[in-house]
């Protein structure tokens, strides 16, 4: 009945572009969602790591054509900068504007930086991964043009590949301001080359460890001439990057002075070695970056999974700034004990409650500011344990708003109790009661004789099924599950215990089983403004198959999980799980074909946690505001924000 969905991306098969193009006037605000894709050849700095459209330039172009690309480069990126989807240029086609690396420090960039920053908050987008190496060469004066700062420094990437990439980027960087300054570029190229050589030598001398991957990664970003400047740039970038669509926590802007306890942007792009270094210095959890990483997902954090938990546990007594309750919650996240949007959010809020209860304002400090700083510290610790989910981000935003709105002349105990009360109300109204309302609405959609399909394990869906069963409705349930988490098994146990007839299958059978299904009930980690559902990986496939079979798909999601950002694909913002989980099958030790996969250069394992379901596949979203079509999510976000303030 519905037309086949047209492919969303790509005009030129050589170059794959995802995401928006920058508007002509400003390079950076365009791409909301960074998708970094780079060919396995790591020459191209993970192109858009940050937020540029994903480009997968064909590998062969990179190595040989670097130099050749310089001249053409200025033109195409310029055109790109104009917003034209110029896909004809293989290598340099990603929007050059994206390549601005805010992390560039550069002496001269300093001044240009700040006004640049403040002027265009979005430049932060280009965060992390920007090929800082090459950027170093970019002249600062280009920056003000577009408000984007060019990284202008010095240390050059070590690898030769880097150099190429860098220079490529340099070119792009230069182009980014969107003004054509080909002349400038040519003159600086030589200088940059010289500098590069010098730095490479220096670096080779002081060569640190690092896996190849790390080298590659760091090669891209690297270099900050003056570390002092970096922190300033970075946080402000981070602050402004909150504007970026990729941010998980909307509106989390820290004033620069709180830089020290600044929460690293939850959507920090991990391609940027610089920021990763900084974050590591500040971090509580010691974690090593994973060895071999998929290029496309370089912008997401990936750590060695085995080592983090014992390490964190052993440092229990050294975690001074972190309240033990928060620490406990963090450890539970890390070990995977708590999983699921609602439980994580509730656990976090309760931990915060504990810490606030034990909090006392240090002398000479304002409660609001100090408490906010403390909360920021806790949040950054939690992020290190496990990246925030969108529901947690919203909850944190709520908490901070409440703290900020505290009347100034309240006594400390009054203030504290008011906050505690607010947190309680949030948990009650937005989560617990909301779930009850959702269950009430959803059971009206279940008729006798229905066959309901669900995927994975969602707390709300479970509640709906149990309640419908209590009401005496006759239905049966098909639970679709998938590796490696196999979350459906717990749901299966709980439902069968209550006497509901269930069928259990894996996701590869979903199109087989869909024939007999009448309704599909899915949970969500979040619903975005364009009606897209961000949920456990595999949900999109189930929804797509259901749509094809004309089976209505009902998404059950509390309103506090809605977010005003927009995401078009699953790459720009996601979470990477432990790749070893894919290599192993629990209980079947004889399946060991992937043993030692880390040693193989050509093999990378990818374990994604979330994926994105387009709104076309969703028939209805059941929230505590009632049953709404996916097109009405921005309305709810609008109403919800207002009520938020009004609480």
């Amino acid at each position: 009945m519905d037309p086949r969905r047209v492919p969303r991306t790509v005009s030129d098969p050589k170059v794959r572009q995802v995401g928006f193009f920058a508007p002509p006037d400003r390079s950076q605000s365009g791409p909301p969602a960074p998708i970094s894709s780079s060919p396995p050849v790591s020459e191209i700095s993970p192109s858009g790591n940050s937020l540029s459209p994903v480009m997968i330039p064909p590998p062969r172009n990179l190595s040989s054509d670097m130099s050749r690309h310089f001249p053409p480069a200025p033109i195409s990126p310029l055109r790109r900068g104009r917003g034209a989807a110029d896909s004809s240029i293989p290598v340099g086609s990603y929007n050059p504007s994206e390549f601005i690396s805010p992390t560039a420090t550069a002496d001269f960039s300093e001044d240009a930086l700040s006004p640049g920053w403040s002027r265009k908050g979005n430049s932060a987008k280009f965060a992390s991964s920007l090929p800082t190496g090459g950027i170093g060469m970019v002249k600062q004066n280009k920056v003000p043009a577009s408000g984007l700062t060019m990284v202008s420094t010095v240390r050059m990437p070590k690898a030769i590949k880097e150099k190429e990439r860098v220079s490529m980027e340099e070119v792009q960087m230069e182009q980014q301001p969107g003004d054509s300054k080909p002349l400038k570029e040519k003159t600086t190229k030589a200088e940059r080359r010289a500098l590069q050589e010098a730095q490479r030598a220096a670096k080779a001398a002081a060569k640190p460890e690092g896996s190849k991957a790390q080298a590659a990664a760091s090669g891209v970003n690297a270099v900050n001439a003056s570390p002092g400047k970096v922190p300033k740039a970075t946080p402000s970038k981070k602050d402004s990057s909150s504007v970026v669509a990729s941010e998980k926590r909307g509106g989390d802007r820290q004033p620069d002075k709180d830089r020290k306890k600044d929460v690293p942007h939850p959507r920090m792009q991990f391609d940027d070695e610089n920021r990763v270094e900084k974050a590591k210095k500040r971090s509580v959890v010691r974690q090593t970056e994973a060895r071999s990483r998929v290029e496309l997902f370089r912008h997401l954090p990936q750590y060695e999974h085995g080592t983090r938990l014992p390490d964190l546990e052993s440092r229990f007594f050294q975690l001074d700034p972190i309240h033990p309750a928060v620490y406990k919650v963090g450890v539970r996240y890390l070990s995977g004990d708590i999983s699921g949007g609602n439980s994580r959010c509730i656990a976090m809020l309760q931990a915060f409650q504990e810490s606030i209860r034990d909090y006392s304002t240090p002398p000479e400090k304002s409660l609001i500011r100090d408490l906010t700083t403390k909360i920021n510290g806790y949040v950054s610790f939690l992020i290190e344990c496990r990246p925030l989910s969108i529901s947690m981000g919203n909850a944190i935003r709520f908490l901070k708003t409440r703290i900020n709105k505290l009347v100034l002349n309240l006594s400390e105990s009054e203030a504290k109790s008011s906050i505690l009360l607010d947190i309680d109300r949030f948990i009650n109204e937005k989560i617990i009661l909301a779930d009850k309302v959702i269950v009430k609405h959803a059971v009206t959609k279940i008729r006798d004789g229905d066959v309901l399909l669900t995927y994975g394990s969602s707390s709300v869906v479970e509640m709906i099924l149990l309640h419908a069963h209590e009401l005496g409705k006759q239905f049966r349930v098909v639970i679709v599950d998938s590796r490696p988490k196999l979350e459906g098994q717990m749901l299966l146990r709980r439902l069968v215990r209550q006497g509901i007839s269930c069928t259990y299958t894996h996701i590869n059978a979903v199109s087989y089983v869909m024939l007999e299904v009448t309704r599909v009930l899915l949970g969500a980690s979040s619903v975005l403004s364009n009606g897209t559902v961000y949920s456990r990986v595999g949900t999109a496939s189930v929804a797509m198959v259901a749509h094809q079979f004309h089976v209505p798909v009902l998404i059950c999601c509390e309103a506090y999980k809605f977010h005003e950002r927009v995401q078009l694909d699953s790459i720009c913002s996601n979470e990477l799980g432990d790749p070893d989980a894919i290599a192993r099958v629990s209980g079947r030790t004889e399946i060991n074909y992937l043993e030692g996969w880390t040693n193989s250069e050509n093999l990378q394992l990818l374990n994604l946690i979330y994926d994105v379901t387009p709104s076309d596949y969703v028939s209805m979203i059941i929230t505590d505001y009632g049953m709404i079509p996916p097109t009405s999510v921005p309305v709810i976000v609008r109403e919800y924000q207002r009520e938020h303030l009004w609480i």
Binding site: Y625, M627, P629, I636
Partner: protein, 364 residues
């Protein structure tokens, strides 16, 4: 499934939806003048007969007054919308109420509204109208009124005005749709909607040249009625049997339908056959326009055709049907929003996704 009150004397057949029965009465090929005369002649006898056994039908306020009878009375008038009839009935509840506080009045109204809704569960505009009015009442009572009587009179006044609003709504809709009717266009109309008739009437008065294809509209013969009316307006009309819609869709420029109810997804619930026509129109890239007043927006969300309260309407085939043969007697279907182009409402020309926006603003 029986959908109406067993003791109502209007129903010869218990398997019939009252709402559609009323519509059928409206659509009967008689002139409205005749009906008005007949009504006047009949007077309020039916109502007297009913009030004897109205005790089972949801009495409230215990003063022998039945809101259902009031409602039925109003409903018989062919030009009056269902929701308006409901609101007028509720207004009479207020008028005859003996409550002394706002709370009491509200409770009475709630009871009356519930009984109305349960009496005919198939009528969407009835439910929507009741809900709307109750919403308005709750909002009003939230305001501080010094005097209970002034609050009461304000409610009454609003209820009275609702009728005018409804009438004006049709005019607004007619005005808005004029731009979409161009000279030389061919319009396909299905069902007999007073709003659509108003639209076409206004277009004719504005001297637009267009022609209309009417579907026959079995079993209610809505097409006959509509073509009657249009012929009076000197609009060229062509009657089609329901099966000839796809055949004629090539020469059609746009499809105009009314709506019994507009649901939260932006789809509409309308007379049986609308979904079919919308499907054909969509596949041939013809726009489908819906003309509906805003009080028809309901907080329903059907997922498929069977997800609504069934509304049955017996079909007379003219020849006896063997008892073993089942007949699909549903009177309405649901058209999902992806097949609709625009909704003309008194709130403006809306796209289907805006309906939910409006509903959220109204009810939340």
């Amino acid at each position: 499934m029986a959908t109406e009150n067993p003791h109502s004397q209007q129903n010869s057949n218990p398997q019939i939806s009252l709402y559609y029965q009323t519509r059928a009465a409206h659509h009967a090929v008689v002139t409205s003048d005749w009906l008005a005369q007949a009504q006047a002649a009949v007077g309020r006898h039916p109502e007297d007969a009913v009030s004897d056994n109205s005790s089972a039908g949801g009495e409230e306020s215990g003063n022998g007054f039945s809101v259902i009878d009031e409602f039925n009375n109003w409903r018989k008038q062919p030009d009056l919308a269902e929701a308006v009839a409901a609101i007028r009935a509720l207004a009479s509840v207020i008028r005859s109420s003996q409550a002394t506080t706002m709370m009491e009045l509200e409770i009475e109204l709630k009871k009356a509204s519930d009984s109305l809704k349960s009496w005919d569960t198939t009528s969407i505009s009835l439910t929507a109208g009741c809900d709307l009015f109750m919403r308005y009442v709750t909002r009003t009572s939230a305001l501080e009124y010094e005097d209970f009587n002034s609050a009461k009179s304000r409610l009454l006044e609003r209820a009275e005005r609702f009728g005018e609003i409804s009438y004006k709504a049709r005019k607004i809709i007619a005005m808005l749709s004029q731009e979409f009717i161009f000279d030389g266009c061919t319009i396909l109309v299905h069902g007999f909607s007073r709003v659509v008739l108003e639209v076409l009437r206004t277009a004719a008065q504005n001297k637009k040249l267009f022609r209309v294809l009417c579907t026959e509209g079995r079993p209610d013969r809505t097409g006959l009625r509509l073509s009657n009316e249009l012929a009076k307006l000197d609009v060229p009309v062509k009657l089609l049997i329901d099966s000839a819609v796809a055949y004629s869709m090539d020469e059609v420029d746009m499809v105009f339908v009314g709506a019994d109810g507009v649901v939260e997804s932006g789809g509409i619930i309308n007379m049986m056959g609308t979904y079919q026509i919308a499907l054909v129109a969509k596949s041939m890239n013809k726009p489908v326009y819906v003309a509906a007043e805003s009080y028809k927006f309901a907080r329903l969300y059907p997922l498929d055709q069977k997800d609504m309260v069934p509304a049955l309407r017996p079909i007379d085939f003219g020849v006896p049907i063997p008892s073993k043969v089942e007949v699909e007697t549903s009177a309405r279907d649901y058209t999902p929003p992806q097949y609709l182009t625009f909704l003309f409402t008194d709130l403006g020309v809306l796209s289907p996704s805006v309906v939910s926006d409006e509903l959220i603003q109204l009810y939340l």
